[in-house]
């Protein structure tokens, strides 16, 4: 594995379908051991980007590489990247086990691995049934098993939570966590932030094919909107400390302060380090959902203001 190249790197990627520019000069990267959420509303260009990364779609411009190499030039694609893309992607008349055996054979993976994975995704009991009769959740798990055939270092998942019930989403979350803990890089797309918010380390937010933001989740929150609200007897002392540290602090109502540009954790650490007495610490204003909505809504008031000012 090249030490310098990130697990996934997308650089200046553009894809045009006729008159539509589906992906527009998109850049982001995913490091090993990280779970990155690839977020955007439906039609934002997520699927096109992931398919370009996997050599299924030819980019109009730019590049998308896995460990520094385009997918189609990988020596062992199945052993390097595993992917779950939208939909079932299996023949309804072929059993789940045979579906995996077909792919395993093409990738030079032994049948023993197929049975091991069927066990892992809890499909052993239905493995010999025709896949056309599988439930949505079973199809997603079959897709996940296919992605893991070559024990890949990088995972690419397109809307894996689609159609899963709450237990399924929870199962998926724990599963992805355990895979990332083994040092794998995971890129997981979703149009529903709450599905991945508790799973991912970082988010890449795209809208209309452009990257709007790449940041750790906590930073994304801290850097926007209301920030952290703190109340209590010693808040003025805390405000001084934070201002000295370069944070933006404003006075809220009821004697509370609102800290922008710091996460709740950062503020909490400062409070603990200085033995400050407080009564309340909460994230003020925007939730993650609101930030996501603001980032991806078309008519952004702020943008309009800037245009008028310009």
């Amino acid at each position: 594995m090249a030490a310098t190249a990130p697990a996934i790197e997308v650089q200046g990627l553009s894809k045009r379908f006729g008159a539509t520019l589906a992906v527009d000069d998109l850049s982001f990267s995913v490091e090993a051991g990280r779970i990155v959420g690839f977020l955007g509303p439906n039609g934002a260009g997520k699927t096109t980007t992931l398919r370009a990364l996997l050599g299924l779609i030819r980019p109009t411009a730019g590049s998308a590489t896995i460990e520094g190499v385009p997918y189609v030039e990988l020596d062992d694609p199945t052993g390097t990247v595993g992917a779950v893309l939208d939909g079932g992607m299996f023949h309804p008349g072929r059993s789940g086990r045979n579906h995996l055996r077909v792919l395993a054979l093409a990738a030079g993976v032994a049948d023993a691995r197929v049975d091991e994975l069927l066990e892992l995704v809890s499909l052993s009991d239905s493995a010999k049934r025709r896949a056309g009769g599988y439930s949505l959740g079973m199809r997603q798990r079959l897709g996940l098993a296919a992605a893991l055939l070559g024990d890949p270092r990088v995972l690419v998942l397109d809307e894996p939570a689609n159609g899963l019930d709450p237990q399924g989403i929870r199962w998926l979350r724990d599963f992805l966590r355990s895979l990332a803990a083994e040092g794998r890089a995971i890129l997981v797309s979703s149009h529903v932030l709450s599905e991945v918010a508790q799973t991912v380390d970082e988010v890449v937010v795209i809208h209309r094919g452009r990257s709007i933001e790449q940041a750790p989740i906590a930073e994304l929150l801290a850097g926007r909107g209301g920030g952290v609200r703190v109340a209590g007897p010693d808040v003025s002392q805390l405000a001084e400390l934070l201002r000295a540290d370069g944070a933006e602090v404003s006075d809220g109502h009821d004697g509370a302060i609102v800290v922008a540009g710091r996460s709740g954790e950062q503020v909490g650490a400062l409070i603990a380090a200085n033995g400050i007495h407080i009564s309340e610490l909460a994230s003020a204003g925007q939730t993650l959902e609101e930030v996501f909505f603001e980032l991806t809504s078309d008519e952004q008031p702020a943008a309009d203001d800037e245009e008028q000012a310009a």
């Binding site: 096109t48 779609i57 030819r58 079932g88 072929r94 054979l105 093409a106 030079g108």
Partner: protein, 248 residues
């Protein structure tokens, strides 16, 4: 490469399609060759053995359909995505599919001719009718017929990769085989050339060796011409497949 071919062969064995095609072919051959062997009066000028073996040629359109489904079914069910993730080189995938379907076509051809031959050997002696066929002529007819069936499967793979839509590929391919090319031969001047050197002409040259005047060119030349058509469609299919964005 062998991994990709073995994967394609496993694909053929793990749905009901290939088995269904084999059973349908055998049922049709059994019905027609059986009825003919049992009831045909066989004109004085005919060779009963040749006529009966020729029934196995009914496997041709079945082999064509099998090939037409190779790529189009992957698009129909979206399996083209996991297939290309496992085998990202699309030219390599085409070669693997061609190899697997040539093999499947050979199997189909062998069982079809074997059934026709068995019926010939069992039923004709019961009626005291001689096959009228020498070993040499019989071998020439069967080998040509089997190769022709295998090559039709290969042609189907290429055409299916060009058309890609499953229903369109099957209907288009069968329409060409049964209707369009036979109709084109009726066009003045060009028609004669199509009759001799079109796909139908090549098929006749390879498989109809025992029928006087059916083909303009020899068996080997016909085989090479049919191989040329298979290569032409395979290359066209591979080029289109390489250029295509796989978005579903």
């Amino acid at each position: 490469m062998t991994d990709a071919i073995r994967s394609e062969l496993l694909k053929l064995r793990t749905t009901r399609t290939f088995l269904g095609v084999v059973i349908a072919t055998l049922a049709l051959v059994a019905l027609i060759a059986g009825a003919q062997a049992a009831a045909d009066s066989f004109d004085a000028g005919s060779t009963p053995g040749v006529d009966l073996l020729d029934v196995a040629g009914l496997a041709q359109p079945f082999a064509l359909v099998l090939g037409l489904l190779a790529v189009s079914t992957e698009f129909r069910h979206g399996t083209i995505t996991p297939t290309l993730l496992a085998t990202p080189d699309r030219a390599r995938l085409m070669i693997a599919k061609l190899s697997a379907h040539l093999t499947a076509g050979l199997v189909l051809g062998v069982v079809a001719y074997a059934l026709a031959a068995i019926l010939m050997w069992i039923v004709l002696p019961l009626r005291d009718i001689s096959t009228g066929l020498s070993v040499g002529d019989g071998v020439e007819q069967v080998v040509g017929g089997v190769v022709c069936i295998a090559l039709l499967a290969a042609i189907g793979v290429g055409v299916g990769a060009v058309i890609r839509n499953q229903v369109g590929a099957v209907i288009g391919g069968l329409a060409w085989y049964f209707m369009i090319e036979p109709l084109l031969t009726a066009i003045p001047k060009v028609g004669g050339w199509i009759e001799d050197y079109g796909i139908g002409g090549a098929i006749a040259a390879v498989s109809d060796t025992q029928f006087e005047g059916r083909a303009e060119i020899g068996q080997v030349a016909g085989g090479l011409l049919l191989l040329g058509y298979a290569a032409l469609f395979a290359v066209a299919g591979a080029i289109l497949l390489r250029r295509r964005d796989i978005s579903a």
